[in-house]
């Protein structure tokens, strides 16, 4: 609602502008003075929130794309159709800005393509992640392009792209499965450093399963925000289907969370890590498991039973937080757990600043796209596409 | 919503159950004051019933001194808990003979509770009352045991035999006060001269028949010891020994003991020197070993170390082939087992850890004994085989003392003129000036450290032997080869683990200094051995 009639300088936009300005300054610092100048990273803690949040959480929360498109196109849940485009859009933005954020964390950003084109370290799970993300961003771009093409009015290309929907969706799911799980698999190589409660030979499975929840929760969560901010951009189909989508996703998320909870318990049992539950880390682990896995699952279930949209939305917040907490635990909090407190990592305000900057970029771009392009509504000339 | 409420109800129920069970458990445990966690010598485990079969509650852990103190306060004596039978106080509680498990249980419970109740009534701080089962039947009490074995070493033994307070009627010596042997004829245990032995020789861990097939039992070692020591200490007035557990069984108490350094030799008809003669002389190829009994008596502080079972000649149990009495430990093992503390070699090895020896010996690898080291004990001129078989007891003793008296009393060493005064180590000097090692000074100091050590004297047979500490891996000689002749370039695969010259020096010097606990020069203080090169 930033353009046309109302003044451009709404409080929201002012804040946005402010953050973006600050972000640019930090960006300059980072690339002029080096990573050490802006981060608290050191030789014991090579990965901070730029990986733990921007990458890990970013990718997980962008899972909405494959979850929605798969359920709509592959499992024939037509009523999700109106949710697909917003989901794809956020997914695309999410991934795109993950790559952007990566530029800050890498020592030689300009060499990012090396693993793909120059020297392939195929034994690395990071290679696998990189390859998938690169491909998937392209896939997402193509999947999303119709929105832009309709906006620009390139009918021919747009129709051709629409034909690719099925293979693209399948490809999307395959790639997502691979890199979502591989993000967890990254830590398989460091059994000595990750706390036994979180380390498991099934880390990839955990990450993949939780990413589905992340996707579903995120669709609901964004839905909430979008409804607050851009209600006027939505056509009646979207509004009609929105609640159905929310409940459907909630149902799925609730059940997946239950399964997730179970496999975590199985894993603890198989590795016989029970004794750790008595420790401080154990307490924190229980908080994660009950507060951010069991609780959201239960809230979702209730919400669906009671047809209570508000409850579902609250649950989605827990769901999203749960993912963030889990990724933080694996990549930072439970990592290097044996180091003395003095050598542990805590992000500097500048690192946090950059992360906020990136998030703001995503939101702003989303708002731009959503206002300009047929995302939340159907383009009048392409009714048949629906 | 329905579901939530039922969930809550379940949780509530569980919590309730938990609380109840905890409370129930508490009920059986005691709130009575048990002394705050510490370590005591007097923690006695009363498990007499447990030994009879399994019990419903674990054995009782009992603080004896606590009760002795309490009795003193009430000016009662041992008789409050210990019955006396024909002038001898029983160490059992309130009885002289164990009855059935039931009786014992009753005996303990009634007597303990009676007294505790009484004291509680009198308002004294006392032990657990009836119903506080776990307070006594406590398998792992807060207190740790500081119990330490105590032994009759030479000094302590001398103080007993020289004590005025210990007298045996009609005898000029008081050995009979403790030492006794069972005489089947008189069916009595009485002292017989030159049969004295350690208590353990007859009193085993469990009661055993006084003689083959006899139904009369002699008490187990623990009982026997306490009966003879404690009871004697109790009834002796004036200069007497401890009666409490802590009095003997703590490190502190044992430190307090007066130590008599010059203890006259104990006479029990033992030889000054004897031949260790194998039972089967056909099989025993080496010459017999002359054992300097007198010397070893002086350097050990009890007989038990070597006479671990009873006082008898080694070969009685340890035969060439080994036999049951000797637990099938062959003579060879009995004398040479390196790990054992009672074998000759084992004991001699531990002596090497003394700093004055460790300097050289700690750097020497564990290796098979050399022929030369065998000959040190199995002297060439010692009798063997048929010659030995022909000898009678006295001849053997004579031979033994002859051999022993012929042994060196001081270590053979080269004269100063043969010991280079300084050795300049400069073959590989680059950053540092050559090191001028005060060779003779070092050698003399080391020799002085072991002067008068009989073992060093007899094992460092050749003047060159001592040099072997540093001049190793080459035949004994007055002019050993230079270090360079073996140690050169480091890490040559075909030379295995042989260090290069520089490391050879440093390892030898620093290793020895460390082992001899010499503070200076510090290993990292380069300049103290070789000045830094200036140019």
């Amino acid at each position: 609602m930033s353009n046309n009639q109302k003044s451009f300088w709404t409080p929201g936009n002012v804040l946005t502008a402010f953050i973006l300005a600050g972000g640019l300054v930090l960006t300059f610092l980072r690339f002029y003075k080096g990573i050490g100048a802006v981060t608290n990273l050191d030789d014991n803690n090579p990965w901070g929130i730029w990986i733990g949040f921007d990458l890990m959480c970013g990718v997980a929360l962008a899972a909405g794309g494959y979850v929605t498109s798969a359920s709509c196109y592959l499992f024939g849940l037509k009523r999700y159709h109106s949710a697909v485009r917003p989901a794809i859009t956020t997914a695309f933005l999410g991934y795109f800005f993950v790559v952007v954020a990566l530029m800050y964390d890498l020592g030689h950003p300009w060499r990012l393509p090396y693993p793909l084109v120059y020297s392939q370290g195929t034994t690395s799970l990071l290679f696998e992640v990189g390859l998938c993300v690169a491909t998937y961003v392209t896939v997402l771009f193509v999947e999303w392009s119709p929105a832009a093409l309709e906006w620009l009015g390139f009918r021919k290309i747009r129709n051709f792209v629409i034909r690719l929907t099925l293979p693209l969706t399948i490809l999307g799911v395959v790639l997502s499965t691979m890199h979502q799980s591989s993000l967890g698999a990254l830590f398989l190589i460091a059994p000595g450093k990750l706390h036994p409660l979180w380390y498991s030979s099934f880390l990839p499975v955990f990450f993949f399963m939780s990413s589905m929840v992340a996707g579903a929760s995120m669709v609901i969560f964004e839905g909430t925000l979008a409804h607050k901010g851009m209600h006027d951009k939505m056509d009646e189909t979207h509004l009609k289907e929105a609640d159905g989508v929310a409940f459907g996703m909630a149902k799925a998320a609730s059940f997946i969370l239950l399964g997730y909870f179970f496999i975590k318990v199985f894993d603890i049992t198989m590795d016989n890590d029970w004794q750790y539950l008595a420790t401080g880390y154990g307490a924190w682990f229980l908080v994660e498991m009950f507060g951010f896995v069991a609780l959201p699952s239960f809230l979702y279930a209730l919400g669906v039973r009671e047809k209570n949209l508000k409850l579902v939305r609250i649950a989605s917040v827990f769901g999203v937080l749960g993912i963030v907490i889990n990724r933080f635990n694996v990549s930072m909090i439970a990592f290097n757990w044996q180091l003395p407190a003095a050598e542990r990592y805590f992000p500097s305000w500048m690192e946090v600043g950059i992360s906020i900057f990136v998030v703001t970029l995503i939101v702003t771009t989303y708002r731009f796209i959503a206002t300009k392009m047929p995302v939340l509504y159907e383009h009048p000339e392409y009714k048949d596409a629906h | 919503m329905m579901k939530g409420r039922s969930l809550l109800r379940w949780a509530g129920l569980l919590v309730a159950v938990a609380l109840v069970s905890v409370w129930g458990h508490e009920a059986r445990s005691s709130k009575a004051e048990v002394s705050s966690a510490g370590s005591y010598a007097d923690i006695v485990t009363i498990d007499v019933i447990g030994k009879m079969g399994n019990t419903e509650l674990p054995a009782v852990t009992y603080r004896h001194d606590l009760h002795t103190e309490a009795m003193k306060k009430l000016n009662k004596d041992c008789s409050a808990c210990h019955k006396t039978q024909d002038g001898k106080m029983s160490l059992k509680f309130m009885r002289t003979e164990d009855g059935s498990a039931e009786e014992l249980k009753k005996l303990y419970h009634t007597n303990c509770f009676a007294c505790h109740a009484e004291q509680a009534a009198a308002g004294n701080n006392t032990g657990p009352q009836e119903g506080e089962c776990r307070a006594c039947h406590n398998p792992n009490p807060a207190d740790a045991s500081a119990w330490k074995e105590v032994g009759m070493d030479k000094s302590l033994h001398y103080r007993h035999i020289s004590a005025k307070t210990i007298k045996v009627a009609g005898q000029d010596v008081n050995c009979g006060a403790c030492h006794h042997v069972y005489d089947p004829a008189t069916k009595k245990a009485e002292w017989k001269k030159n049969t004295e032995d350690s208590c353990r020789a007859c009193h085993k861990s469990e009661p055993t028949p006084v003689a083959e097939g006899a139904d009369k039992m002699k008490p187990a070692f623990k009982v026997a010891a306490h009966e003879s020591c404690v009871l004697c200490h109790v009834k002796t007035t004036g200069d007497t020994g401890p009666v409490t557990c802590a009095g003997c069984h703590t490190a502190e108490a044992q430190k307090q003991y007066k130590v008599v350094t010059e203890v006259p030799r104990l006479e029990r008809g033992q030889p000054d020197a004897t031949l260790v003669v194998a039972d089967d002389l056909k099989k025993a190829k080496l010459p017999a070993v002359a054992f300097n009994h007198k010397l070893h008596e002086a350097s050990l502080d009890n007989c038990r170390t070597c006479h671990h079972e009873k006082i008898a000649s080694c070969t009685e149990c340890h035969t060439v082939a080994g036999k049951k009495e000797g637990n099938f430990v062959q003579l060879e093992q009995a004398m040479h087992a390196v790990k054992s503390k009672t074998s000759c070699v084992g004991c001699h090895n531990t002596a090497k850890t003394d700093p004055s020896c460790a300097g050289c010996h700690s750097l020497m690898p564990k290796a098979a004994p050399s022929e030369q080291s065998c000959a040190t004990c199995h002297e060439k001129n010692a009798p063997k085989g048929d010659e030995l078989a022909a000898m009678d007891k006295d001849q053997k003793l004579a031979a033994a003392s002859a051999l022993v008296s012929a042994r060196p009393t001081t270590m053979p060493v080269y004269g100063d003129e043969d010991i280079p005064e300084f050795v300049e180590i400069g073959a590989i000097a680059d950053k540092y000036e050559p090191s001028k090692m005060p060779h003779r000074k070092i050698v003399k100091t080391m020799i002085a450290a072991v002067a008068g050590n009989k073992m060093a004297a007899s094992f460092h047979t050749d003047p060159g032997t001592f040099c072997q500490g540093c001049h190793h891996n080459s035949p004994v000689s007055k002019t050993p080869p230079k270090c360079q002749s073996c140690h050169g370039k480091p890490f040559e695969a075909d030379k295995g683990d042989r260090p290069g010259l520089k490391a050879a020096y440093h390892q030898q010097c620093m290793g020895c200094h460390a082992a001899m606990k010499l503070e200076k020069p510090k290993a990292t203080a380069c300049k103290e051995c070789h000045a830094e090169r200036t140019n």
Partner: protein, 369 residues
């Protein structure tokens, strides 16, 4: 089929199986024991005196900057230090219980047999060389620092303060010097041969020999023989190695840890499309059936209404025949009109929903495909 074709097929099969066989040998029964002539270093902490000569040598050989504290100042040993981008090796002092003297331990890259850093690097910047050393090529490095996460010994360090070309730094076991037939800097300078250089195989033998010769001097454990799949640097100690700050590392090597997850990837690629296409097919089939049923229903309805209409007309005609000629054609017209009208209405009613359904069924993308 004709004979030649058959034979060629056979040949193909044979070839395939042969290739299969070699693979199986490599992956299954075959074990990888590292380069036969890999060199290594044996660190004997019972010999180390903590003189820091190795640190000095390392800095000189690799032209690293001088530290703020001079090398002959041994007070730095009192504080625990670690390697960093400007220090490839450090010696730390450990006061262990029950020993009257401190123990010193050198730390640097352990040059694993199966390096975690190499296994983790997604641009092959790390190489395990036949001489045993693990070296790093800065020209490939993207700076992701996954190697630092992966290394079980926390060895690789990063130049965080270099904005332009920040590189990972670690001990190279003096790979270039070894190639020239020289000793690694630290080994060369060690005054006491607390560092022994040689073929890893020989070093293991030497280490075992020392333990056998001096059983009371050594803990009977060669750290690095099996740790992390084996390392080129080996350690002997008088106390358990963990008391010298050695990390407790499992015997599993990095590639073994990740091979499972990596192996699952191709399976996903093979299986997912099949399942998903299946799911798609099922959902499509449902739709198709639904659509067909609707079509049938409509046809039926139409026929029925037609029949009714005809009857109505017939009866009307009969009735008319009985009447007066005059009344005839008026009556007829009326009845026909009614019948016709009702028929039209019914038909419309039937078609309307059918239309609606049809348009609705058109949502899925490959209607166009």
């Amino acid at each position: 089929m004709d004979r030649r074709k058959f034979l060629s097929l056979l040949g193909g099969a044979g070839l395939a199986s042969a290739m299969g066989a070699t693979k199986v040998k490599a992956a299954g029964t075959h074990t990888f024991n590292g380069y036969p002539d890999a060199m290594g270093v044996l660190h004997d902490s019972t010999r180390c005196i903590g003189c820091r000569k190795c640190e000095q040598a390392c800095a000189e050989v690799n032209n690293l900057p001088k530290p703020e504290v001079a090398y002959d100042d041994l007070t730095v040993l009192d504080t625990k230090r670690r390697t960093d981008a400007k220090t490839y090796t450090v010696v730390n002092k450990y006061n262990t219980a029950g020993l009257d003297h401190p123990i010193f331990r050198k730390q640097q890259c352990n040059h694993c047999q199966e390096p975690a850093c190499a296994s983790a690097c997604f641009v092959k910047a790390f190489t395990k060389n036949p001489d045993g050393s693990v070296t790093y090529n800065g020209d490939l490095c993207v700076g992701c620092r996954y190697c630092m996460v992966a290394c079980p010994f926390g060895v690789p360090t990063f130049e965080y303060d270099d904005p332009l070309d920040p590189l990972v730094q670690k001990c190279t076991m003096c790979h270039p010097r070894i190639q020239e037939g020289k000793l690694p800097g630290c080994v060369e300078k060690c005054p006491k041969e607390a560092l022994t250089f040689g073929r890893r195989e020989d070093l293991l033998a030497i280490a075992r020999d020392r333990i056998r010769k001096y059983p009371e001097r050594y803990e009977n454990h060669i750290y690095g023989e099996k740790e992390a799949g084996g390392t080129s640097w080996l350690y002997l100690s008088a106390v358990p190695h963990t008391e010298l700050g050695m990390p407790l590392v499992g015997k599993t090597s990095a590639p073994e840890l990740t091979s499972g997850a990596l192996g699952a990837v191709p399976m996903v690629v093979g299986i997912w499309p099949v399942l998903l296409a299946g799911a798609y097919g099922i959902s499509k089939r449902k739709e198709k059936i639904a659509a067909e049923e609707q079509a049938d229903a409509v046809r039926e309805a139409i026929d029925k209404t037609k029949a009714d209409a005809d009857n109505a007309m017939k009866t009307a005609l009969d009735k008319a025949a009985k009447d007066k000629a005059a009344a005839v054609d008026r009556e007829v017209k009326k009845a026909v009109a009614e019948a016709q009208q009702s028929f039209d209405e019914k038909l419309a009613a039937m078609q309307a929903p059918a239309e609606a359904e049809d348009t609705d069924a058109g949502n899925s993308p490959e209607e166009e495909a």
